[in-house]
């Protein structure tokens, strides 16, 4: 490097970086101002009593202490865990099954693919309202069909024992995005491997177990993690489907708090009861929980098989 070069301004020497940063600046500024700052601020607010209008007042860990004693906090946490524990595996399984079916070379393949993906592009609010009617215990499509079979269908969303399974059912119907990622993964599996396995005498089940699953394991991991994050943030459907006619989010989460999922309770605390500090504390607990679960999954992801070049 010559002396002349060194005398050049800092900007001139880092011209490329500066231009790069400048072009990235809308995003960088956006992230800092609308992403990072609110996230950090919410941690501060979680240590305060705060209702947006009044200046926050520091109360230390009081919000966290109150949460530990709040039965609805535990109830909502359990409801969300229920969806993750029972809903997510079912959803992933069904998505994989659909992807396998859609991967089969049959006539009208693209039509089937479109049909299966269609629910995923429909507006969530509209489909949720539709589902309220499909699941209606008296006049709904499901119970009418069950009635023809001589079965008195459950109360679905009106029954605390069936409301969460009903939510899971609705989730399975709209698994298009997960399915499409599985499908992409399936198409990446080299055909030669199947041929080799067939030559070695492997049947369809064995080929699936020994070739397909290991080859798409990175995709499974991806869908699992996205699914966990999605399940913990599950809000819109339950907000739409369980709110009473008065609306405004009041009454959502029933019957008997059986659909009061964690983000819904968080929302109610923040925007219905104006307990922003309390809601912020809930958000941070959720964040730490999800982070811990994801880290655990990564640590135990020995089953994931990455192809090396």
């Amino acid at each position: 490097m010559s002396v002349k070069d060194e005398r050049k301004s800092f900007l001139a020497r880092h011209r490329a970086e500066a231009i790069g940063l400048a072009f990235a600046s809308p995003w960088l500024i956006g992230l800092t101002v609308f992403g990072l700052y609110p996230i950090l601020a919410s941690f501060y607010y979680s240590l305060c009593r705060y209702n947006i209008v009044r200046p926050p007042r520091l109360v230390g860990l009081q919000n966290y202490e109150l949460l530990m004693q709040d039965p609805l906090f535990w109830k909502s946490l359990w409801n969300t865990f229920y969806l993750v524990l029972f809903g997510l595996p079912l959803q992933l399984g069904c998505a994989l099954l659909c992807a396998l079916l859609l991967n089969a070379r049959v006539k009208g393949q693209s039509v089937f693919r479109t049909l299966m993906y269609l629910p995923a592009v429909m507006p969530v609010v509209a489909t949720s309202i539709l589902w309220v009617w499909v699941l209606n215990p008296e006049y709904g499509l499901f119970n009418t069909i069950l009635g023809y079979l001589g079965v008195r269908g459950p109360g679905w969303l009106a029954d605390p024992a069936w409301s969460k399974p009903a939510l899971i059912l609705v989730g399975i119907w709209s698994l298009g995005n997960t399915m499409i990622i599985f499908l992409a993964g399936l198409q990446q599996v080299p055909h030669a491997l199947y041929e080799a396995a067939t030559v070695d005498g492997a049947g369809p089940w064995h080929r699936f177990r020994a070739v397909t699953i290991p080859m798409i394991s990175p995709v499974i991991l991806f869908n699992l993690i996205m699914g966990i994050i999605g399940s913990f943030q599950y809000f819109t459907q339950v907000y739409v489907m369980t709110a009473t006619i008065e609306g405004g989010g009041r009454g959502a989460g029933g019957p008997e708090f059986s659909t009061l999922v964690y983000p819904l309770y968080l929302y109610q605390n923040a925007f219905v009861y104006f307990r922003m500090g309390y809601a912020s504390a809930m958000a941070w607990i959720l964040f730490v929980l999800v982070a811990m679960i994801i880290i655990f999954i990564f640590k135990t992801s020995g089953w994931v098989h990455y192809e090396r070049d």
């Binding site: 209008v53 009044r54 008997e256 708090f257 925007f271 219905v272």
Partner: protein
């Protein structure tokens, strides 16, 4: 021109656009002409159109002010607008939000302005001045009032061998009607529900209980009278089976449609508001129905009922408080209030409005007049005003579901809720820094 120059040019354009955006946001230029008042209200349809026409009248008569009405979904949007420093100048809030938001500093206190303009406590119908008042401040003015009573489907009542001209006057009689009017088919599926209580508050009152003691600033939900009321409510649900009821009610049509379960004979007796007089005319003109007061369990005490409604507020942060008040003062004046109430079949909050010719016209309807009389005679009370009203509302209604399904005992539930609400109230008072002074109606008769 080298490609590099292109890059800098592009960046220049981009930053110019950002700057323009920023300037646009801060509204650099100020317009001259009439002062614009943003007016957010909660009435759609014909009600909204009527309110808009009132606003036009005001605008025509006040060339210096231009009120711009717009419909909005009352909720967190208003809070965000106030917190963001760009609130509407006049807005509507539901009653249960008023104290929470008001005591948090969202609205301008109106008590002095009201008094100067002659809106004194006794200008209002009984119990209405205290409505929404927790401390000495009035954070809003009632828009119009709604009041609850009992409605019964006369045809169903006769079918069951009962006399609609002699409606139940005691809780015991109402319970008897509820049982006799309930129809279940051979499989136990409900065809018609006689009566189940919807809101707990006035039933607690009618069992002689109180929810809140304003003098001590404490909830009293666990009073034995309240426990009795909840026990009675739960028994009515349990008699038909909570699961049956949930299935049955999930099939109800919208309340503001001809499919309203009361109109189609799925509910024989129901608590409902005075707006039903108008609704039934519109959606079920053939329906033969009767109205009667809520029965009381306390001997010698006439049943009391609940008055609900919304409030006009002037949010903190408005740039034109004087013009906003000028408009609000015009809107709540006896004449406008009477006309608005008459058109909506709601009840105007001022005594004078009720007496005005514009409102007397709608009082020709006996059923509507019956509802109005409930307020006029002081038998209708508002929800106790506290800064945790919203929590109480939700916790009480949702928690009762567990009592109805037998998962929690009435007494244990009310004790737990009472403790929880008192803790909440204490923390809210501490945070909001509300001085230890009570509202004018607080110490005396306003015990709800």
């Amino acid at each position: 021109m080298t490609p590099r120059n292109h890059v800098w040019k592009l960046l220049g354009v981009a930053s110019g656009m950002l700057l323009a955006l920023a300037l646009g946001c801060s509204e650099g230029s100020r317009k001259t002409g009439p002062v614009e008042i943003a007016f957010w209200h909660a009435w759609g349809g014909y009600e909204g159109r009527y309110l808009d026409s009132l606003v036009e009248e005001f605008n025509d008569a006040h060339p210096g002010i231009r009120v711009e009405p717009s419909f909005f979904n009352v909720g967190d949007k208003l809070l965000a607008a106030i917190a963001g420093g760009k609130p509407p100048d006049v807005a509507t809030v539901w009653d249960f939000m008023l104290v929470t938001m008001g005591e948090s500093g969202c609205f301008l206190p109106l008590e002095e302005r009201l008094e100067e303009a002659g809106f004194t406590p006794d200008a209002y119908l009984p119990h209405i001045w205290e409505y929404g008042m927790f401390s000495r401040h009035k954070w809003g003015v009632p828009t119009t009032l709604n009041v609850m009573a009992m409605l019964c489907n006369n045809a169903l009542v006769r079918q069951a061998g009962l006399d609609p001209d002699h409606p139940p006057q005691t809780i015991q009689e109402l319970t008897d009607w509820a049982h006799r009017l309930t129809v279940q088919d051979e499989n136990g599926q409900l065809q018609c529900i006689g009566f189940v209580p919807i809101a707990p508050i006035y039933w607690m009152w009618n069992f002689g209980g109180r929810l809140y003691d304003p003098a001590g600033r404490r909830f009293t939900l666990d009073q034995p009278e309240n426990v009795e009321a909840v026990r009675w409510m739960a028994a009515l649900y349990q008699r038909v089976g909570i699961d049956n009821w949930r299935r049955f009610s999930a099939g109800f049509g919208r309340l503001d449609s001809p499919q309203n379960p009361f109109y189609v004979g799925k509910i024989a007796v129901r608590e409902d508001g005075q707006w039903q007089v108008q609704f039934i005319q519109e959606f079920a003109p053939e329906l033969d129905y009767g109205v009667f007061p809520l029965p009381s369990a306390v001997e010698g005490q006439a049943g009391v009922t609940l008055v609900t409604g919304s409030f006009w507020v002037i949010p903190v942060g408005t740039e034109h408080p004087e013009e906003a008040w000028a408009f609000l003062r015009w809107l709540i004046a006896p004449e406008q209030s009477a006309r608005f109430g008459a058109r909506l079949r709601n009840i105007p909050p001022l005594r004078e409005s009720v007496e005005r010719a514009e409102f007397q016209e709608v009082l020709q309807d006996d059923k509507f007049a019956f509802f109005v009389e409930l307020i006029r005679s002081g038998r209708a009370r508002p929800m106790p005003a506290t800064p945790v009203g919203q929590q109480l509302n939700e916790r009480l209604t949702q928690g009762l579901e567990l009592v109805y399904s037998g998962k929690e005992e009435p007494e244990a539930f009310l004790q737990r809720l009472n403790q929880q609400m008192n803790d909440e109230l204490e923390r809210a008072l501490d945070f909001l820094g509300i001085e230890e002074e009570l509202s004018p109606g607080g110490g005396s008769g306003g015990s709800d």
